[in-house]
Symmetry: C2
Subunit: 218 residues, 2 copies
DNA sequence: AGGCTAGTGACAGCCACTGACAGTTGACAA
DNA sequence: TTGTCAACTGTCAGTGGCTGTCACTAGCCT
């Protein structure tokens, strides 16, 4: 029909583009509804209606309510995983993880922004932290991600994750700290990128002290 | 009717005893069905039918399927939390946590056994680890437990959990390691108490090495 | 133009969970 | 005892997430 004009995606059949649009419309509508009226108080029918498709179609694009709510998280996680893989192999494991987060945040932001407004993603994250059902699903996925990262770390160091406990332990420590900072950030007032960056460094720097024998020797 | 014979609970009204029996019957039936035919493939109606009560009654005793499945975990967690509180205050935080787990396992076993056979509890744990929906719920509860423990640790050390990051970090590190060992234990072949004890010490001992700069200096 | 197939809507049905109401059964005092 | 009250339970109806099925439409390809 049209020329091969540079749309959002240059090469893609009409069919493909329509699917893409429907998916994004559903995603945006869902997040918008979730963050304004709450996750539980939003029905799948509402979301479908907002995009003017049948409920059945919604379930053809997303496995369920949870999946939509966590979708942008998935994008961010994938980007983070890639950032870890891109770290130079001579860096120590925890160093690599630390830099992957700190330096990756901007590219993560971009990756998210290409799907939904970053601001919506941020609101979604706060929603997850404050909605038990979503937090549960999020934590489970994080556990899977940690296992993957542990394998990446093990490979970097030429280790077998089932023989040497250190990769999993290191990742677990790192993941634990990330959970804390994520929660505090979502509860706090400053929801900016620099804010989370500061929190992250501050808490990561406390791992050593926290493991020290005597805390009172300040 | 009978004399005041030493039943399971000496002092409790008939009504109370009946409730207790129904609750335990539901719990046992649920776990038995879950572990034999799977969590998802077991309906609430089946559980209720097995105990010969209405579905409605099931929901008066438990908030949902998840809650039954995680019930014995809750018992174990409560016991662990108590064990932490009982540690002498001069012990270093991580030391206290470590001993609470290692030395507490037997009393945890007893606490569980007073509700359902320990073997059923073990099977339930494996079920949780292998059922996404249950694992998600379990992880969320674990996160809550960690926050509580962090407060206990902070109090031991006379700290404010919102000022000093170390309590939360220490607990997160510990919790992360416990997750790993729990998973490996459930996946492994030896499901005995000594087995998990060994795993725990082995992995806890790897926290230091995992944080070291250079891993290859073995 | 016409056949092929991916994508969709409409419908029926399962299951977890909830509110409302009525019936039953221990608890407790007269 | 007996009567009253409150706790507990069953039944029924309804909501919402999710799935299977099937007929239909619309983009694709020759």
């Amino acid at each position: 029909m049209e020329t091969t004009g540079a749309q959002t995606s240059p090469r893609a059949s009409l069919r493909e583009r329509k699917k893409q649009r429907t998916r994004e419309a559903l995603l945006r509508a869902a997040l918008e509804l979730f963050t304004t009226q709450g996750y539980e108080r939003t029905t799948v029918d509402e979301i479908a209606e907002a995009v003017d498709v049948s409920q059945r179609t919604f379930f053809r694009y997303f496995a369920g309510k949870e999946e939509v709510a966590l979708f942008t998280q998935g994008v961010a996680e994938a980007r983070f995983l890639a950032a870890v893989r891109e770290r130079p192999p001579q860096e120590a494991p925890l160093e690599a993880l630390r830099r992957a987060v700190l330096e990756g945040w901007d590219t993560i932001g971009e990756a998210v922004e290409s799907v939904v407004p970053l601001e919506l993603h941020m609101r979604a994250y706060q929603l997850i932290e404050s909605t038990p059902a979503l937090l549960a699903a999020y934590l489970r996925r994080s556990a899977e991600l940690e296992e993957e990262i542990a394998r990446v770390i093990a490979e970097r160091e030429g280790l077998d994750v089932d023989v040497d406990p250190r990769p999993r332990v290191a990742v677990a420590v790192f993941g634990g700290v990330m959970r804390i900072t994520g929660r505090l950030w979502s509860e706090g007032a400053d929801h900016s990128i620099p804010a989370i960056r500061e929190l992250t460094t501050a808490y990561l720097d406390q791992v050593g002290p926290a493991l020290a024998e005597k805390w009172r020797t300040e």
